[in-house]
């Protein structure tokens, strides 16, 4: 495995938010506090008049954010993913999306990597919920530089967005050149495509490196921009490589894998295999061991990659 330095996505958000606040006086921020998980603390310190901590009012976080936005403000609202997309879903749907309010939801603690708290705090369905909302932009950054760019970029349009962050520090993989609606190619290859998001992006690169050692070249796409989705790049990858492996820390029934499969099926159908959380809730455990336990290990991904290569007759 390649040695890389790691960085916190929540910290990247926190710094980017202060930067936005300096740049634009109409930017305000709200948190629904979850004991120490607050991402807006630095912003609050710098701009106390433009920050509100709404305690444990997850839905009202969204309704108040919407009201603030209707007057022309850019509103960043943050809480943990299971509250932001789950507890507050109907308020996100109606007060934010249906009102087309300029609210940027930054959800910390997405996925299994929450670890010890277990299933009720491990959000594995948020991509499905948020992507289904008309007008919602959905981003799942794979590292801190991408999180920073994404948080800054979404201020540039008037409308709702959902950004899913991870509690654990993640390896720094990019220089943060994120473009909404564009899948960045992190590695060239023509034997297979691996499409990954969030914490799985580093594992995707590691799988590609292992395949390279064995003489197989895998293309790796960073699909942080879930919606709008870069279907063109997916179809091109399907055409060029003939098989796609997807890697996500989300329920496989309704996440990245199904997005990739349906995007390619209409014009360039190729076998798509998914590495992700089976249709299950999580449980308590060491965060990174949990990924392995639920089938998101590098080894399992490698097995699936070989399976696809065999299916396509690229190896015997």
């Amino acid at each position: 495995m390649v040695e890389r330095k790691s960085a916190s996505l929540a910290e990247a958000y926190s710094q980017a938010l202060v930067e936005l606040g300096e740049r634009d006086p109409t930017v305000v921020a709200l948190d629904a506090d979850t004991s120490g998980a607050r991402a807006g603390a630095a912003f609050e310190k710098r701009f106390p008049d433009r920050f509100w901590d709404l305690g444990m009012m997850e839905s009202t976080l969204m309704t108040i954010a919407s009201g603030l936005a209707l007057g022309g403000r850019t509103v960043y609202a943050s809480t943990i993913a299971v509250f932001a997309a789950g507890a507050a879903y109907d308020a996100v749907r109606q007060s934010v999306c249906y009102n087309r309010a300029n609210v940027k939801i930054v959800a910390t603690h997405g996925g299994l990597l929450v670890g010890g708290d277990g299933a009720t705090r491990q959000m594995l369905e948020d991509i499905a919920l948020m992507r289904s909302l008309p007008g919602m932009t959905v981003i799942v950054p794979g590292d801190a530089p991408t999180a920073r760019t994404a948080v800054l970029d979404i201020a540039s349009f008037d409308g709702p967005a959902y950004v899913r962050l991870t509690r654990e520090n993640l390896p720094v993989l990019t220089d943060g050149t994120f473009t909404l609606g564009h899948a960045a190619q992190l590695r060239e290859g023509s034997d297979l495509t691996i499409v990954a998001i969030g914490a799985m992006l580093a594992r995707a690169l590691d799988v590609a490196e292992e395949l390279h050692q064995a003489g197989v070249e895998a293309r790796v796409l960073d699909f942080a921009s879930i919606k709008p989705a870069d279907e063109k790049t997916l179809i091109q990858a399907a055409r060029d490589t003939g098989a796609i492996l997807t890697m996500e820390e989300h329920n496989v029934l309704t996440g990245l894998g199904t997005l990739v499969a349906s995007a390619t099926a209409t014009t360039q159908p190729v076998p798509v295999r998914q590495v992700g959380v089976p249709d299950l809730f999580g449980e308590s455990g060491d965060p990174w061991k949990l990924l392995d336990h639920y089938g998101l290990s590098q080894k399992h991904a490698l097995d699936e990659a070989w399976g696809l290569l065999k299916l396509r007759g690229k190896v015997s």
């Binding site: 309704t63 919407s66 009201g67 109907d90 308020a91």
Partner: protein, 280 residues
């Protein structure tokens, strides 16, 4: 001048306007074949008082930043609000009968993106009130003179989101916010808004740091006294519990919960309009 400072002639004009709104509610819900006559008729006087007298609005410039805001958290009182906005000059009253038709800006529940004058798209209990709190926070931060009026239903007061929003409004001391509760539930035991033991509602609102009073929600002088007191209240929001009659103005609908979400048929609409002094 009455005690509320509103001249009797104005009160008479408002009564005429409210009667017009009630007639429109009957026509619109009959024509649409669905809707909520009971809760529209109960709130017609409040909406009239706000849209025709209290609110600083400019129908020519519905987005005027310094305007006052009316957030209809009980979004199903849409027909009453539409009628008021149309007769106030926001749009042509001839479109009122398109209520609930495909393509009409007159959605069954108010939609801010489709109709000028509507401030928030509501529907989910307590969400409109939360948006009103956000709008009031924004106005205060921007030092705009805008005042924010939210109308919530008493059924909606069973929702936790209503109390979250109330808690926030009280915590932030939003004296530019007035929360009207359309207290129209006819059934003290099992009705919407009563089955969970809402009373004593005024005590609850006071405990949430609201300057609270209860008024007869069909008496314009009482409504304006409440509004004047709210304007004079500093450092905390106001709550006005408007005791109203569900189905007010139509004898066979008054205090009948059956008319919550059932439109009149042709014969019923004609009888109702005759009582309201309108033509079918």
């Amino acid at each position: 001048m009455s005690e509320s400072g509103v001249p009797p002639a104005t009160v008479a004009e408002l009564q005429t306007a409210a009667r017009q709104i009630r007639q429109d509610v009957i026509r619109m819900t009959y024509h649409a074949g669905s809707g909520h006559p009971g809760g529209n008729l109960s709130v017609a006087d409040l909406i009239t008082a706000l849209v025709f007298h209290e609110l600083r609005l400019d129908p020519e410039h519905p987005d005027w930043p310094d305007r006052d805001r009316l957030v209809l958290s009980k979004g199903h009182a849409a027909p009453a609000l539409y009628s008021a906005l149309a007769h106030r000059g926001f749009f042509d009253p001839s479109s009122l009968l398109t209520l609930r038709e495909i393509g009409s800006p007159l959605q069954g529940i108010v939609d801010r993106r489709k109709l000028p004058g509507v401030e928030a798209s509501t529907g989910g209990p307590g969400q409109g009130l939360g948006m009103a709190v956000g709008i009031a926070l924004d106005a205060r931060l921007a030092k705009r003179p805008s005042r924010v009026y939210a109308i919530v239903g008493d059924g909606e007061c069973e929702s936790g989101l209503t109390w979250e929003a109330l808690l926030a409004g009280g915590r932030y001391g939003l004296d530019n916010l007035v929360v009207f509760v359309d207290r129209n539930d006819p059934d003290p035991d099992r009705g919407t808004g009563n089955r969970m033991g809402l009373e004593p509602l005024a005590d609850k609102l006071r405990a949430f740091r609201y300057d609270t009073l209860e008024i007869d929600g069909h008496q314009f002088p009482a409504i304006f006294e409440g509004l004047a007191r709210a304007r004079a209240t500093k450092g905390r929001p106001s709550a006005i519990i408007a005791r109203t009659v569900k189905g007010k103005g139509v004898s066979f609908m008054e205090n009948q919960d059956a008319w919550h979400a059932r439109p009149p048929n042709r014969e019923e609409a004609e009888r109702a309009l005759a009582e309201l002094g309108g033509r079918p």
